[in-house]
């Protein structure tokens, strides 16, 4: 049993992720062909675009994330909890929603904000715009990592610096910053990887830019659309994208090991907040204005777009587009999305916990890897591998037929493997921090192993696991990148419906569905918050 479970999970992962990936790569030639393809000017252009926009996004996320995290954890800024909720909102909302909002706000000819500062003075299209939108929509990765590190720092470390003669700024620079730097940088690395794998934002903002700003993902998409010959080039670009992601993540892991700093816990004086005093009003106004501008305004713009009679006609409003929400097609798509996302989220939680419980490093790494594979590549691999029925034949008799092609199960599979890392990581982090003596105490009190797990271990990891499940649900319910390629014939999920409407049929309806999606996500977040607060109160 001890060996069988990890082995079975490993085989499952290899069969569903790595074998299809190998199949895809095999169809696209070998390293020789890839190197050849990488030499072309367009390929270099795309690689450069990915590197520039991704580093830009990481810088934007750092520049905004550090002050926000510090204000939220360390000061009495007005409405701290609400500010935290606002700046971590992007983790639950697909980046293309922000893009829709920013196009309405900051396109160079008729954007709302553009018109305030003058035509052509503001341009969201291009590398800078891509980096900005990706950076803001990945803001939570930096804010949460930095805030957690700030909370972990023993306040005595900073007080010791003050007593040594350092003023507040010197203390921050020489003590606080070096201590939170590893967490901040690893957050930034995640932003980089997230940005490099993102498709919707660079597609909507990079292709119509002047000059255009291609990235690896948009290039892969274009190449795939060019047919058989393009597929090989797409695969070679996928390899580049994979290398970028794996490279950044390994550098990050290496840095984390090299600069490992154990943060000793304080003696409960933590959470001492800085009284901003007279500057409280000013600082709060600044923080809230920034948060509102960067996070809330684009969402509001999406909402308003759904209320305009025609695109770009600000000033008059109508509800006529909202009829689309009640159309059977929308309702069906929403239903499928919710069911798939819920199924995927629960599976991610359960399998993640199971893998974490085996405590096998190799298995965790195996489960972690798909999250670094860009969605486009993963979906393409699954499509290639599973569009044919697989017949398992034992002793010359058909034992089992696996027919995944053209079914929602393939979609479910892609959601689960893509987000499995989230479940594994939160479960294994929580298990590492969990107090093993509780389970041992339960065993000694007469509980069997299962009972001891349920009573002793599960309560300690439940919080982290529920968080992972909710986040997976929220990501999957609006997933686009993989759904576009894997959606079965005749079906829709919310993401593809939105994309279809946005680029082929009716942008106003797209904005309406986007708004409805927003409302659902906000409602889910409120529910989560209330539940968390109630749990805290207990």
């Amino acid at each position: 049993m001890k060996r069988l479970v990890p082995a079975a999970l490993g085989v499952l992962l290899v069969a569903t992720v790595f074998a299809p990936l190998g199949l895809l790569l095999a169809r696209s030639g070998g390293p020789g062909e890839w190197l050849e393809a990488w030499r072309s000017a367009e390929s270099r252009h795309a690689l450069l675009g990915t590197l520039v926009t991704s580093s830009g996004a990481a810088i934007v996320a750092l520049a905004l994330g550090l002050p926000f995290a510090w204000l939220i954890v360390r000061t009495d800024v007005v409405a701290r909890r609400a500010l935290k909720a606002v700046v971590t909102l992007p983790s639950a909302i697909p980046p293309y929603l922000w893009t829709m909002g920013w196009i309405a706000l900051a396109n160079p000819k008729s954007g709302w904000l553009t018109l305030l500062v003058g035509r052509d003075r503001l341009d969201v299209y291009g590398s800078a715009g891509i980096a900005f939108v990706l950076g803001t929509s990945a803001l939570p990765l930096v804010v949460l990592a930095t805030a957690a590190a700030l909370e972990r720092i023993d306040p005595a470390l900073e007080e010791a610096a003050r007593l040594s003669g350092a003023n507040a700024w010197q203390t921050f620079r020489s003590v606080t910053l070096p201590l939170i730097a590893p967490a901040m940088l690893s957050g930034a690395a995640l932003v980089f990887v997230f940005a490099s794998a993102s498709f919707g934002v660079p597609y909507l903002l990079g292709v119509p830019a002047n000059p255009p700003a291609p990235t690896l993902t948009t290039r892969i998409y274009a190449e795939v659309l060019m047919g058989e010959a393009g597929l090989a080039r797409a695969a070679s670009s996928s390899v580049q994208l994979l290398l970028v992601a794996v490279g950044v993540l390994s550098i990050n892991a290496w840095l984390a090991r090299a600069g490992r700093v154990r943060l000793p816990r304080g003696k409960g004086l933590g959470g001492k907040v800085l009284q901003l005093g007279r500057s409280r009003g000013l600082v709060s106004a600044l923080a809230w204005t920034t948060g509102a501008l960067v996070i809330l305004l684009p969402l509001g713009a999406v909402f308003l777009t759904g209320l305009q009679p025609t695109w770009g006609q600000w000033g008059s409003f109508t509800l006529k587009h909202w009829g689309v929400v009640l159309q059977p097609r929308t309702v069906a798509a929403a239903g499928v999305s919710v069911l798939l996302a819920a199924g995927a989220a629960l599976l991610v939680g359960a399998i993640g916990l199971l893998i974490a419980l085996t405590r096998r490093r190799w298995l965790e790494t195996l489960a972690d890897a798909p999250s670094a594979i860009p969605g486009t590549v993963l979906a393409l691999a699954l499509l290639v591998a599973f569009s044919r029925d697989l017949r398992f034949i034992a002793f010359e008799r058909v034992a089992f037929v696996l027919a995944l092609g053209n079914t929602v199960w393939l979609l479910l599979l892609s959601y689960v493997v893509k987000h499995l890392a989230l479940g594994v990581r939160s479960a294994s982090d929580a298990l590492a921090q969990a107090d093993p003596t509780l389970a041992e105490a339960a065993r000694l009190s007469g509980a069997g192993p299962v009972r001891a797990f349920l009573d002793g271990v599960l309560p300690q990891v439940r919080g982290a696991l529920v968080g992972a499940v909710l986040l997976t649900f929220l990501t999957c319910v609006s997933e686009l990148t993989m759904s576009v390629l894997l959606i079965p014939t005749g079906g829709d999920v919310l993401g593809t419906l939105l994309f279809e409407l946005q680029s082929y049929a009716d942008p106003a309806s797209a904005a309406v569905i986007a708004s409805a999606l927003l409302l659902i996500v906000l409602a889910a977040l409120v529910v989560q918050n209330v539940a968390a607060r109630r749990a805290e109160a207990r």
């Binding site: 023993d154 005595a156 470390l157 007080e159 010791a160 610096a161 003050r162 007593l163 040594s164 003669g165 350092a166 003023n167 507040a168 010197q170 020489s174 003590v175 070096p178 201590l179 600069g259 700093v261 154990r262 943060l263 000793p264 816990r265 304080g266 003696k267």
Partner: protein, 340 residues
């Protein structure tokens, strides 16, 4: 001139008053211990001296200069203090050398290296100068913290529970180290601790704090021998505290009448009686109390006797015949009475 002077300082967190109209003067070169149970306000008092908290009312003076009177405020880094924390507060991203050198570098001092060497010499850690903090034990970390706090030759050294994270053997070793450092450097020190042995061993003056006020400020032997209040007696000497009434030459508590020692004179009326456990005499005369437990402690044995719902503790070296569950006679050799 007083090195530290607190005048009627008050501090509340929310609705809870933590420090109430507290005044304290620490003379130069003196070591004053703030002793009390957790939550008595001793750490808050220390932090107000450091400038890490600000009093709601009152004045803080250092070396005769006002550093905080509600309006004027001198920031902690400009008070010329050193501080050692319970959690060591050694910066994990800096080496031992960098930790100790930091105060000097901020001052722009010359010859930093020699000064760091010397400070590490005080705490016998010269060999560890290039180590990283995670390679050091708790006791070594706290010695680095001492070196760092002293390297800048502060006017006053603040010690916030410096030994309570260490195990017993290390604690005694470091206690000796602090004492010898003080003898060598003559630095004024304020020590916050909940450990009476530590306070009594190190301090020139002990301020026993309870619920935000100083109940007694005196030399250690005075505090021990002549506690000013029943709380001080109970906290410092580990004495028994009985609430009752003096009637003639008897003290009646929980319905039990004890004979007072001959030299004790008190007017009749409600009193609190304090008796050290070594002054409780068993098996000679007096009322019978049930023996609850017997704890052998090597040089002596502790006996626990039931009185009402509480426990009377007696320590003696002689063997007592009574078994747990049996009654034994109890009398007092010496007591202190406080009118209620």
């Amino acid at each position: 001139m007083a090195a530290v002077e607190l005048v009627e300082i008050e501090k509340a967190f929310g609705a809870t008053a933590v420090v109430k109209k507290l005044s304290l003067t620490v003379r130069e070169g003196e070591l004053v211990a703030l002793l009390g149970p957790s939550g008595c306000g001793k750490t808050t008092t220390l932090r107000m001296i450091a400038g890490l908290e600000r009093p709601d009312r009152g004045v803080v003076r250092l070396g005769g200069q006002v550093v905080d009177d509600g309006r004027a405020f001198v920031a902690p880094e400009r008070r010329g203090l050193g501080m050692v924390f319970q959690s060591y507060a050694i910066w994990p991203h800096k080496s031992v050398f960098e930790n100790v050198a930091y105060p000097l570098q901020l001052k722009g001092a010359s010859n930093v290296e020699a000064a760091v060497k010397e400070a590490l010499g005080w705490v016998r850690l010269e060999a560890f100068v290039q180590r990283r903090p995670h390679e050091l034990s708790g006791g070594q970390l706290q010695r680095v913290a001492l070196a760092r706090a002293l390297v800048g030759q502060p006017k006053v050294l603040l010690l916030d529970e410096p030994l309570s994270n260490l195990d017993v053997a290390l604690r005694e070793e470091l206690r000796g180290e602090i004492a010898s450092l003080r003898a060598k450097l003559g630095t004024t020190m304020i020590l916050v601790t909940h450990d009476q042995a530590e306070a009594l061993a190190l301090a020139d003056q002990v301020a026993v704090m309870n619920k935000g006020v100083i109940e007694q400020l005196a030399a250690p032997d005075v505090v021990y021998r002549e506690p000013a209040t029943p709380f001080v007696a109970g906290f410092v000497g580990g004495a028994n505290v009985l609430v009752g009434e003096v009637q003639g030459t008897s003290f009646i508590s929980e319905g039990v009448s004890f004979a007072l020692p001959a030299e004790t004179v008190a007017p009749p009326g409600p009193h609190t009686l304090v008796v050290r456990s070594e002054d409780v005499v068993l098996g000679a005369e007096g009322p019978l109390l049930p023996l609850q437990a017997r704890l052998f402690m090597g040089s002596a044995t502790e006996y626990r006797l039931g009185i009402g719902n509480s426990v009377l503790r007696a320590v003696g070296s002689e063997r007592l015949e009574a078994q747990p569950g049996q009654g034994t006679s109890v009398s007092f050799r010496a007591v202190r009475l406080y009118a209620r």
